[in-house]
């Protein structure tokens, strides 16, 4: 099986096969001998060329996106069938490069105050909204230049992580 795996800026081409009771992986042309034992539903111990890792791979519930916990780090990963990824690329469908035009609640909390209204132009770093969570006031700032298209929540409202707060249109 051949996969295309993306972590932050890096994209890896990984091929894996099961041969004579061993897993053999090839990553960007390098062969890696793999030994893996499940420790539970999502956790495994893996030996990659005899290097030892305890990993926890969790599916994020939507397509291709997983989270791996390894060496004290939480790492978001996109994994796809390699051929499919290539097809999508040709078709210009690479979803992961698309700019995010929505602001979702980065944590559960209480919306204290909006610093913008619909139609406002914001510059990168401008405060958008203040959310109280875990007794701290957190100022959520704009990740880039944009125009506020719609606001989907209001002051005093409780939000869950991932709830839509507002939408932008690209400032182009």
């Amino acid at each position: 099986m051949r996969y295309s795996v993306k972590i932050e800026d890096k994209e890896f081409d990984i091929h894996i096969e099961y041969k004579s009771e061993k897993y053999i992986a090839t990553i960007d042309g390098k062969e890696v001998l793999v030994d893996s034992h499940k420790l539970g539903e999502s956790r495994s111990i893996m030996l990659l060329n005899n290097k030892s890792f305890e990993v926890d791979v969790r599916s994020n519930g939507y397509d291709n996106s997983k989270t791996v916990f390894v060496l004290g780090q939480e790492i978001p990963v996109e994994i796809e069938n390699y051929n499919l990824a290539q097809l999508k690329k040709k078709a210009g469908m690479s979803s992961s490069t698309k700019m995010d035009l929505t602001l979702k609640a980065p944590m559960p909390g209480l919306i204290l105050e909006f610093k913008v209204s619909v139609g406002d132009s914001v510059k990168k770093g401008d405060p958008l909204v203040i959310i109280e969570a875990m007794k701290m006031e957190n100022v959520i700032k704009a990740a880039g230049d944009a125009v506020v298209k719609s606001i989907s929540a209001e002051s005093g409202q409780s939000v869950e992580k991932g709830d839509l707060i507002l939408e932008f249109e690209s400032d182009e």
């Binding site: 890096k10 893996s36 999502s42 956790r43 004290g72 994994i79 944590m107 957190n138």
Partner: protein, 508 residues
């Protein structure tokens, strides 16, 4: 002297667990209290007894004086340990305890009130001959007065809550244009955190160290200090990494700061454990910051290098015992570093996270102590402080402590939410940190944009491989299961075919 037999711990999380451990270590029965969200929390499991005190928001449980007092009476506890935060520096509550004939493990209400008001504390500090950073109070209702006083002191300015603590209600202002907005925010945060919106301003030192002196005094006028802690690695004015001793401390400066700390204790008739916080400028001159009239989060680094159990000492002092330790008994054995493990995303400006700890395994072995408020499968609720644990390491010197700290951070296993573990690991490799060249500006100077480069290219490659292998194994299992089902189906088909043939009169 009254022996305490049962202590109610009016707190939660790691500090409640820490105090329960001290109680057990001296044979005192421990009583936990819990809100709805904490019904199966670790501190409840650890305690000898536990009482429900209300709904999840702390304003409906951990902060409700009546509920805490009721649980204390119901459980027959002699004393209350408030931990830090919540009611720890609440003079009204401390007074209530006295009125109800309950021992409050902490200083007298009047001391708490006096030192808790940062403006009053400044006056006491002056009376105690302590050096102070230039600053002043102003009429909170009169913005023009505030602005002009800020200009007199000169920007950058630090706005602080009079009732403040723990970085809440604190704002740095770089230029006059931002002053009004920051004042408003600081004041509103102060109201929601302390119910007191008064703020004052101080000159903001650009690269100070935060160094504090641990003190311990009894009811008989005896007092000692237990060396310093360096707590300069901070984000949002909250400490993240602390150590003892400070890498820049000299015996002379330690004595000077220790003496100053004991002077203010004397001036305020201080009783119990407390911390006198200082800022130390680049030329090693030091300024009084504030007194925390309670046990400090970072007290374990002091415990590890002095061998003194501060919670036990607090309890002994509260019983009325004389200090058994003299200043000469306090040495410095090796070096200790504490990392605060918070449910936060360092890359997103240390934004708090919540979730379930699907995996949670503490580092252990030589020189590692973890005070954790959670265990595997614990939920980290939204209602409380994001600090879930403290990892403290000891080494024979700072080098050994740093190396051990790296090891222990790598050994820590958490899945289910983001933490500060990776951030702390990165700091342990930072050349300035390793050389001891730190200040409260460390994080902003070394990691502008909070881009900590937590992932090396090698780790990315390994993580990618791990996910691919895991996916492959899962897909292969599904395929094999399906095939085996297919085979079963074909067996059935064959079976029916044979039956059919039989029915048709065939011979096999």
């Amino acid at each position: 002297m009254k022996k305490i037999k049962k202590i109610l711990i009016a707190n939660r999380g790691e500090i409640a667990v820490r105090i329960i451990r001290a109680c057990r270590d001296i044979g005192i029965t421990s009583v936990a209290v819990f809100s709805d969200a904490d019904a199966s929390a670790y501190h409840v499991r650890m305690a000898d007894e536990a009482y429900h005190i209300g709904a999840s928001p702390s304003s409906e449980s951990y902060l409700v004086h009546d509920n805490i007092i009721k649980a204390t009476k119901d459980s027959g506890s002699d004393a209350i340990h408030p931990g830090y935060g919540f009611l720890a520096e609440n003079a009204t509550f401390a007074q209530r305890c006295i009125d109800e004939n309950i021992i409050f493990i902490g200083p007298k209400p009047e001391t708490i009130a006096l030192l808790g008001d940062k403006l009053e504390a400044r006056k006491v500090a002056i009376a105690s001959d302590m050096p102070l950073v230039p600053g002043c109070e102003f009429d909170n209702e009169n913005m023009e007065d505030a602005l002009s006083k800020a200009s007199e002191i000169g920007y950058p300015i630090l706005i602080k809550a009079a009732a403040g603590g723990g970085g809440k209600g604190m704002r740095v202002v770089d230029k006059p244009e931002d002053f009004k907005e920051s004042l408003k925010r600081a004041s509103s945060e102060a109201i929601s955190a302390f119910g007191d919106g008064r703020v004052y301003i101080e000159k903001y030192l650009l690269r100070p160290r935060h160094i504090e002196i641990q003190i311990l005094t009894d009811q008989h006028g005896n007092g000692i200090h237990l060396n310093e802690r360096e707590c300069s690695i901070q984000r949002r004015h909250q400490k993240l990494i602390e150590e003892s001793p400070s890498p820049v401390m000299t015996p002379e400066l330690r004595k000077k700061m220790g003496d100053a700390a004991l002077r203010i204790c004397k001036e305020t008739n201080y009783v119990g454990a407390g911390t006198v916080e200082f800022m130390v400028d680049e030329d090693m001159s030091f300024f009084f910051l504030e007194v925390n009239t309670r046990l400090q989060v970072e007290h374990p680094v002091t415990e590890l290098v002095t061998g003194v159990d501060l919670v036990k000492e607090q309890i002994a002092v509260a019983e009325g015992a004389k200090l058994t330790l003299a200043q000469d008994d306090i040495g410095i054995n090796g070096h200790a570093i504490e990392c605060r493990i918070c449910a936060e995303d360092p890359q997103q400006n240390f934004m708090p996270c919540t979730g379930t700890l699907n995996n949670y395994r503490l580092p252990a072995g030589p020189g590692v102590r973890v005070d954790s408020g959670v265990v595997i499968y614990s939920e980290v609720p939204i209602y409380y402080d994001p600090m879930i644990a403290k990892m403290v390491v000891w080494g024979k010197d700072r080098t050994e402590a740093i190396e051990r700290c790296k090891r222990a951070l790598e050994e820590y296993r958490v899945s289910g939410l983001k933490t500060t573990i990776g951030f702390c690991r990165v700091v342990m490799d930072n050349k300035k940190f390793v050389s001891g060249d730190i200040s409260t500006a460390f994080i902003n100077e070394e990691y502008p944009n909070h881009n900590f480069v937590l992932l090396s290219d090698e780790l990315k490659e390994q993580a990618a491989l791990a996910v691919a292998v895991d996916t492959f194994i899962n897909e292969r299992k599904i395929r094999l299961d399906e095939e085996s089902n297919q085979n079963k189906k074909s067996e059935w088909k064959n079976h029916y075919r044979k039956q059919a043939v039989k029915r048709l009169g065939g011979n096999s």
